[in-house]
């Protein structure tokens, strides 16, 4: 049986639901050494800022149980060098490209969206409002539905193609953020960025990450983000891109069932840069052995059956 893996987010049709997660695949250059990046649904760039950023002081990464903490500080080459140095090579590899942007002022999001709107080879824009590492450019915008709405509107007006808003999970009710994004015209929401976490070197009695706290990613966060995808699915109608702890094809299927239309893979690439190959095979096998021709039949197909509210 031939299965159809195509999914649509706004006007963009992805050949399959696998995307890379921003900041975990650079600008796509290196992954080409390990597999054919044109087989992905899309590649999402490292968060781009107006000016290049050198990023935070080391240490920037540390391993914790089933996850890692990072505080990169948005180190990136800036939007201009991305366009001039990286884009055409990436395009040449056949990849579908989504640019992720971050800024510390609302008007900078607008400038970034405008600069990228001219480049038709940038098929989507993902707004990072949720990076927990960078005070003003991250958590502050992303945890306030109003600010999030404002920036979504600015980007929406400037960028004609697919617009994703990436949400922070470090809030009481993520669905309120999702509704704000939907209300201002986002084509989809990415659920979610990393969780604020911390680890201490008990011999130095010092934080293991220079900025004291960092963002937790990896399998540890999968159940948390799964619950958030499910929460958001019940409150908005636009597609959800899930991001958090995908390591196996089973994880991809789990997110689709919970309500995601596509899935970003991040931390797993560090250990298995060619993982998309095995994920795609796994997804296809699962669909055919479940007699599903179309991946859309799987999306949000959770059977909750009877009323499962607590009984007390």
């Amino acid at each position: 049986m031939k299965t159809n893996l195509r999914v649509r987010i706004g006007n963009l049709e992805l050949k399959n639901p696998l995307m890379t997660a921003s900041g975990t695949s650079g600008y796509g250059d290196e992954l080409g050494d390990y597999f054919d990046v044109s087989t992905l649904g899309a590649i999402v760039s490292k968060s781009l800022t107006l000016k290049p950023k050198i990023g935070n002081e080391p240490p920037r990464v540390t391993e914790v149980a089933c996850g890692m903490l990072n505080s990169i500080g948005l180190a990136n080459i800036g939007v201009e060098r991305f366009i001039s140095e990286k884009l055409s090579k990436l395009k040449g590899s056949g990849a579908t490209i989504i640019a992720n942007i971050a800024a510390k002022r609302a008007e900078d999001y607008l400038s970034l969206a405008e600069m990228l709107s001219d480049r038709a080879d940038i098929q989507g824009l993902e707004i990072n409002l949720s990076c927990p590492n960078v005070k003003e450019g991250g958590i502050e915008f992303g945890s306030d539905p109003k600010m999030l709405g404002t920036i979504t509107r600015l980007a929406r007006n400037a960028f004609p193609r697919t617009l994703l808003v990436k949400l922070t999970p470090n809030v009481t009710r993520i669905s309120e953020l999702a509704k704000a994004a939907e209300g201002e015209g986002a084509d989809g929401v990415t659920v979610a960025n990393t969780y604020v976490g911390m680890a201490i070197d008990i011999y130095k009695r010092a934080p293991k990450i220079h900025t004291i706290t960092g963002g937790l990613s990896g399998p540890a966060i999968k159940p948390l983000t799964m619950a958030k995808v499910y929460e958001v699915r019940k409150s908005v109608n636009i597609p959800i891109v899930a991001s958090g702890g995908v390591f196996t094809w089973q994880d991809v299927i789990e997110y689709l069932i919970a309500g995601a239309s596509a899935v970003e893979i991040g931390t797993v690439l560090f250990a298995k840069p060619n993982v998309p190959e095995e994920l795609l095979i796994g997804i296809e096998n699962y669909l055919s052995s479940s007699n599903l021709e179309n991946i859309s039949e799987l999306i949000a197909s959770l059977r909750t059956g009877i009323d499962r509210a607590p009984t007390h």
Partner: protein
Amino acid sequence: MPTNQFLESASVIETREVAAQTFLTEFSSPKIAAAVKPGQFVMLSFPNTLDPLLPRAFSVCETKGDRVILFYVAVGKGTTRLSKMQHAEKVVLNGPLGTGFPELSRGEKVWIAVGGSGAAVLPIIISAANNSGASPTAFYGARTKNQLMQFNHIRIEFATDDGSAGFHGTVVELLKDKMHDSRPDKIFACGPTPMLASVQREFQDKIRTYISVETPMACGMGLCQGCPVKRKDGTGYYLACKDGPVFDARVIELAAGAV
């Protein structure tokens, strides 16, 4: 796209304890064995478990035909687990990665100073140096005798802090001592950060000095931006995994005990 980096499922041939908490593991890993250069490293990961989750960085110590040999100190859960792996068990190796030591030319005199797990790079440097007709000398320092290992066929001058073997003092003091008689064209160093800092301080202005740094790494291949090394010119950071791990000692600032 042509590539010289490989992701290989490598099976363990054997593991030997060669010094205190120090091991050599030999893997069958033909593609990496054929491609690796001195100072380059591999990222090693354990399949079928989430603990440890991230790959671990190891300099390639030596190659023998199809085989890649790693030399490591069991300091944490990854290295401890590795040290217990049995014949035919499998890991995944990603490599060769990074920028290694510069190639040597015929007749060049190079002094190689290593300490701790940095000793890993000795055999591969020495054999490359010999192949290119350069003239290498090896210096190896440790706190005490039982932390040192004797690699086959390599003449090494040892130094111990407690004087239990070789020179009584640090490997840097040993180098300074030797400088009275002779002078190398290049110095290569690999070891703990305080040792590298001392090498840098003492020799960078006199001799072309290359140091191999260790920073925490998540990916080892430029994906994560997790491995910054401060540029001395103040313009930001290099990435240890791509621009390094080997750097000209003059261009970087070592973390002041921060890591």
